[in-house]
Symmetry: D2
Subunit: 326 residues, 4 copies
């Protein structure tokens, strides 16, 4: 991000962000930190932070925008882009479809009910594990490299792994293990089961901040062209597909509601992260009409898996600033 002072209007927008953060922070009590991965339960449920990054200006920030947390499901969007960049979209599509399901993120039913058992989309666990199995590398550590590499291309630093979250996740990953062995049985996995599973658990444990998510969102909004570096870090067509998947399946089985009532491509994670990409819109001259990336962090999640106060903050901002893509 450029390092100059905020313009006056940017100051006003930042003040607005600060007001919203304090307005929605108390709603965290309606959710709670994820407990199925023990290490996630240690987060502070009252945290709420946001960063909005746009091409032409300063990144606006409010609340706990710089508290680190793990990507969890948000990493699915990254590994999908990495796999498509490496293998091409067609080859990835041979193993995973792009249909939303309305099912929970960890559902296994469709793998049996719909032959040939290809996962319905890369934003549910079964699909994401399949995508990760496609990443090059002789072991889980090597498979993680393309994901970190892509993040470095966007963020200009290599985000670290949170080892304690990884270990916690790895030891309790019964359901993912069940999904992965089912996929192996169906001939869908492209690598040994445990290797794909470990690589997937590792990518979920990559640690970033809301500011990092905003930068990722901006690159997506910008069709893969890095707004500061001027390089195409992800092919344009792949970013279109990724944004469509974020909109149709990015927020678990609340995806339809988010598309209808918020209307921006969004991927969430159970650690409380939210990544949104707002393409340029031709309708108004309001804030960020040239597009922006949004990163939000609020670790208290609802029963579906989305940050309670984070989603409320996103919805209010999209409505007030007319960011809905429809």
């Amino acid at each position: 991000m450029k390092d100059y002072s905020l313009t006056q209007v940017e100051c006003e927008w930042t003040q607005q962000l600060n007001r919203w953060v304090e307005t929605f922070r108390p709603y965290s009590t309606e959710g709670k930190c994820a407990t199925y991965i023990p290490a996630l339960a240690e987060a502070n449920p009252e945290h709420l932070g946001i960063c909005v990054a746009s091409e032409g200006g300063q990144a606006l920030k409010a609340g706990e925008w710089n508290v680190p947390f793990t990507m969890q499901s948000i990493s699915k969007a990254i590994s999908f882009m990495a796999a498509c960049s490496i293998h091409g979209i067609e080859q990835v599509m041979e193993r995973v479809d792009v249909e939303p399901t309305g099912d929970a993120f960890n559902s296994i039913v469709r793998l049996e009910a719909h032959k040939p058992g290809k996962p319905f989309n890369p934003m549910i666990n079964a699909g994401a594990i399949t995508v990760t199995s496609l990443l090059p590398g002789k072991n889980a550590i090597e498979k993680l490299e393309p994901v970190i590499d892509l993040l470095e291309d966007i963020l200009d630093y290599r985000p670290p792994l949170n080892e304690s979250v990884f270990k916690s996740e790895w030891e309790t990953a019964y359901l993912n293990r069940s999904l992965a062995y089912y996929l192996k049985q169906n001939g869908v996995l492209a690598s040994p089961v445990e290797e794909a599973l470990e690589a997937y658990s590792r990518q979920c444990s990559i640690q970033i901040t809301a500011e990092d998510l905003a930068k990722i969102g901006l690159v997506l909004a910008n069709d893969g062209l890095h707004p500061y570096k001027g390089t195409q870090v992800v092919p344009r067509k792949i970013t279109k597909i990724t944004k469509a998947l974020m909109l149709t399946c990015g927020t678990y089985n609340a995806s339809g509601r988010l598309a209808a009532f918020v209307g921006v491509p969004t991927k969430s994670g159970v650690a409380g992260g939210i990544l949104s990409a707002i393409p340029p819109r031709g309708r108004n001259n309001g804030p960020f009409s040239h597009g922006c990336g949004i990163g939000i962090y609020g670790p208290a999640i609802d029963e579906v898996g989305n940050s309670v106060s984070g989603i409320l903050l996103l919805k209010e901002m999209v409505e007030q600033w007319d960011l809905n893509i429809f």
Copy 2:
């Protein structure tokens, strides 16, 4: 539509549309006209027509843009907007959700598997019949009025009912009848079963053209503001939700693929109609950057229920003219 000559660039775009029509017309042999409603089987499978309507200019047309056909599932978007306009979104949402499912349009499984048996979205048959049951009126004929009224507001004429298609559909509507009685059992229907069913079958049999669809699409693209009349024919928020539903669930269980690989809010019908709404985009100065409505007609449909040549035409046009909303 304004009645003046095409500008030179509009002539070029029309010539392009004509070329695409002839390019994709032969692909109709990969599909066939719907046979489960006998009267639909009489359409000419080689037909392919398109109309693109935009705010500032002439409607561009090519192929069989003026051949009449029945709305079928496209009417789901109209009745949803009518019901929401009358009752408010919250009341409609009490009876139908907005989640995509990945299931076939006529699937009944989720009504049993997911308590309390509320249809997942208004773009599948179960949801659409529920929405229609909410329309005011003491019988099926009266229930149809709000749908025709809304169409008249947009089109400036009252589109007729194709009686032979209606009769054909009504006599063979075993599956819709099964869905409707299941909904009644679950307490979801707001009217007597046969009344909701007949009204739904009637709305499916409303006869329009590709040009009509383009006008509907334009009003949607324009957030419900009629571009020529200057009146708000549908509340803005309702059009946002409708476009989101078209994108996430508008083309049966190919909705995810269409979102990913075409990327425009689209509702299709088994008679071969396609309705797309392209909001203004801020990214380019190419054709229709201020938004447009698209109507397509191609009665040979694929196994999922979408016009084969129509979808190919839409995809090519969206790619070449950069109409993808993401």
Copy 3:
């Protein structure tokens, strides 16, 4: 039944039955009379009656053995035998399978999930409606005749229809109507939908007593040979299949538990009736080692649909008198 006095041992057994009736009668408070058919809710939940009929002797009776009630699902066993007798087993099997499902009696999921949508067995509603559609007759009244005829062959009188239960059932049969139209769509029904449905609702409303059920059970136990008349009222092979179906699917989704923990072919109905057929056993010289038929009535049913006190009574009797067929 022969009309002579009870032997001394028969007197003892009757006293035992009386004791069991009073022991288990209070358990009716753990269930309640079916409410989804309004007329059934008027039964006295404290009623509990039993009749045991055997070839060589007097029918033993206790409690409300002569209170009339409607057959409901028990009629499925009768219409199945009638249809198989008329058309042969193979022809019936073309439209309905004989696999237990573990699903609720009114489940529709499998009709969609398992192509070609043939009902899994004739003891669930979908299967029973299909079987009834096969019965000869130009309308619902005529279709009922073969069922009443078979009952008359066994009982020596024509049991009446309870018109108020029939009307009550007919007006609220949304779910059966949904199932039937689904079956029609799949090409499984052999008659018009409403005709099959009405005939099915009528057969459910046939009024009998526990004594009647005991006689039916005895004919089944005796492989279709009427023990008093000496005539074969149902072909032997058909009774074997019917008894197998009663054991594997006769008591809704408690069938497995009943098979495991009671172990006698049993068909229940939501009006509180229980029909059991005990074939001759080679293991003991206890009561009814030459086989018997059992009829029970206890209208307070559990959530699965079986008489609470009736099942407890049956279980105790089977254990004490060693009637388990395994």
Copy 4:
């Protein structure tokens, strides 16, 4: 088995068995040896053997009655009896139900669709793995002991493990692994996942013959009382439940058809084994009216998983000798 010459009638019955074996042996071409466990594919598909063991006499044998093969799913009946004998029926029932499902043996759908995810019965893989997890022992080898011990009690020798089948099965057990991790997630497994899985794979690889199966069937027919030793090797009530489970769910998703058209408690395995238990019947003086155990081996299985020629042989014998329990 007693070691004296066959009586004349036993000679006739044996000749009959020989004729049936040769009649049905050619039908093996309609099936094929299981291939999903590579080592099973090495069996001779033309093999067909049978042994019938009864209390009072000689065991009758025909065909390849002494060719060894692995128990596979037949071991589910043994481990269920072992677990119930050790823990009591109630404790086992806390983790596994006894309802038939109509699903394939390796189905996972119900574990997700029916909360709390308890397996429907111990004769499908999910249920059997759960039962095995309950067996005492600190590792897979120790967990196998109670199964082998029970077999020794019945057979008077300790049947060996086929190591090559075990290894083959263990290396390709993706689906069982998926099921087991799913069960672990649901809190259903009573031991570490890999321990339960290995013990289950080992018990499937226990090697026996048709003669051994006949002896097991005879003990079951005899309610757990060993006919030669006079000891109760399994509690009576447990054998009743086991026979009921064999009838309702013992032959995969053909269980209903077998119950209806054969009518004897039967457990099959994909290696081609069939175990049937015929309780004493009170109806005739034909062969084995005092009950018997039947063991059959025919490795060419149908698509459901049952021996093609073996089932045909069983069906013919049951019909001709009136062994149907109904």
